[in-house]
């Protein structure tokens, strides 16, 4: 299954770009309207609940992007199709931004909810580690001067990180039960009312559109970067 990237594919991506940007902005506007005006405040957390509508989608996409990243690295090793490498490299930085956003918004949400900016539970800690895995992937690629080698090496690292994340989640969970048993129940996911599902869904769709838009822009960028590297050799 060797998919070759042809020029007309890139032309198609290029022509789709303005529509995607427009759709992303549109979805964010609708999502903002629903999340700030149309949804009721939570009966326990009040209006601070509204941070969920940006926090949860970015956390989802942070994890999803890393799964796609590791998955395409695995596929690259199996099929030797350079397309997967380009996909991995174009999606990594978007994932890093989403991870950072989920950490920041989660921290801001945590202050009114738990009274502290940060709680050392498994989800938050593994999210933080995930951020550093993204950093390691991106900067290792930049640090190695032979770019073809760099792609292979950082792909191997991404796969190792993918193994590492569940281990960290498990070990922090275990550590928590030992050191601070009480605070965990506070963190259990609040039951979500139906009226909150609509803005959450729209925001998720908007974030997904953003992910696709920027990934496709970066896809073109990475392809051109590869071409420049090839001609300058």
């Amino acid at each position: 299954m060797y998919i070759k990237i042809k020029n007309n594919h890139i032309e198609f991506i290029k022509s789709a770009n303005p529509y995607l940007i427009f759709a992303t902005i549109f979805a964010f506007v609708i999502g903002l309207y629903y999340s700030l005006f149309q949804s009721p405040p939570d009966y326990i957390q009040g209006d601070s609940m509204r941070i969920m509508y940006i926090h949860v989608p970015s956390a989802w996409f942070a994890l999803m992007t890393y799964s796609i990243l590791a998955g395409s690295c695995v596929l690259w090793f199996i099929t030797r199709n350079p397309l997967f490498n380009v996909v991995a490299r174009s999606i990594a930085q978007v994932g890093m931004v989403f991870t950072l956003m989920s950490l920041i918004t989660g921290s801001i949400w945590g202050k009114p909810t738990w009274g502290v900016w940060w709680v050392w539970d498994a989800r938050l800690t593994s999210m933080l580690i995930l951020f550093f895995l993204y950093i390691a992937y991106i900067f290792l690629w930049q640090a190695i001067s032979n770019k073809e080698l760099a792609s292979k090496i950082s792909a191997a690292l991404a796969i190792i990180g993918f193994i590492n994340i569940p281990i960290i989640k498990f070990s922090v969970d275990w550590w928590n039960t030992l050191h601070q048993p009480a605070s965990i129940s506070k963190l259990s996911a609040p039951s979500i009312d139906e009226s909150m599902l609509i803005p959450l869904f729209i925001m998720t769709a908007a974030c997904f559109l953003f992910l696709v838009t920027v990934s496709l822009i970066r896809f073109r960028l990475v392809l051109i970067e590869n071409k420049i590297l090839r001609t300058s050799n």
Partner: protein, 207 residues
Amino acid sequence: MSNLIKRDLLLSFYSSANFFFTVSFFILVLILIPFAFGTQTDQLKNLFKGVVWIALALSIIITVDRIFNADYEDGNLDIIMQKNKTIEYLIISKYITHWFIYCLPLLVILPILSFLFYLDYSETIQIFINLFIGSFGMVFIANFVSALTLGARRTIFLKAIIMIPLFVPFIIFGSDAGSWPILLALSMLSFVISIYVTAYGLRLYGE
């Protein structure tokens, strides 16, 4: 394989400053505990149990450049890889020498240090067992990170960023007394991953 072990041990003996440095570094990191946290006995005990892992992790991180990078940069790695056609033997002998040179001295010095921090015999033995088992896993991780980052020169910070997330499970379980079976499992898992990844990295950079 035995030649390589002999050669690495001799090399570290000739540049003996290296392992004196790691032991001194290890001791100095631990000495910082009373300076930073005061000298109440109970507190010191608990802090020592945790900080000893941080000191071990740091001393492994600062030695990561000596595993493959030095040999790669001056060309000795070519000779080593030529003489050891089965690359797995090469890697295992590197594990042995790296552990022997940089972790064994720390483990030898550990009982003395733990008495300085008022730990009793049973606690010392527990920490020793945990460190003994965990240090192997950390050495395996350091080896594959070293092999993967051969092309990225003078990037010790990047190597630390790669390694510390991988050390997190060891440090979590290590500071708990009875968790040596989990450490053993983690070490074995990291051995399996490390031997594949190190071989992959060395083959790539050999080209």
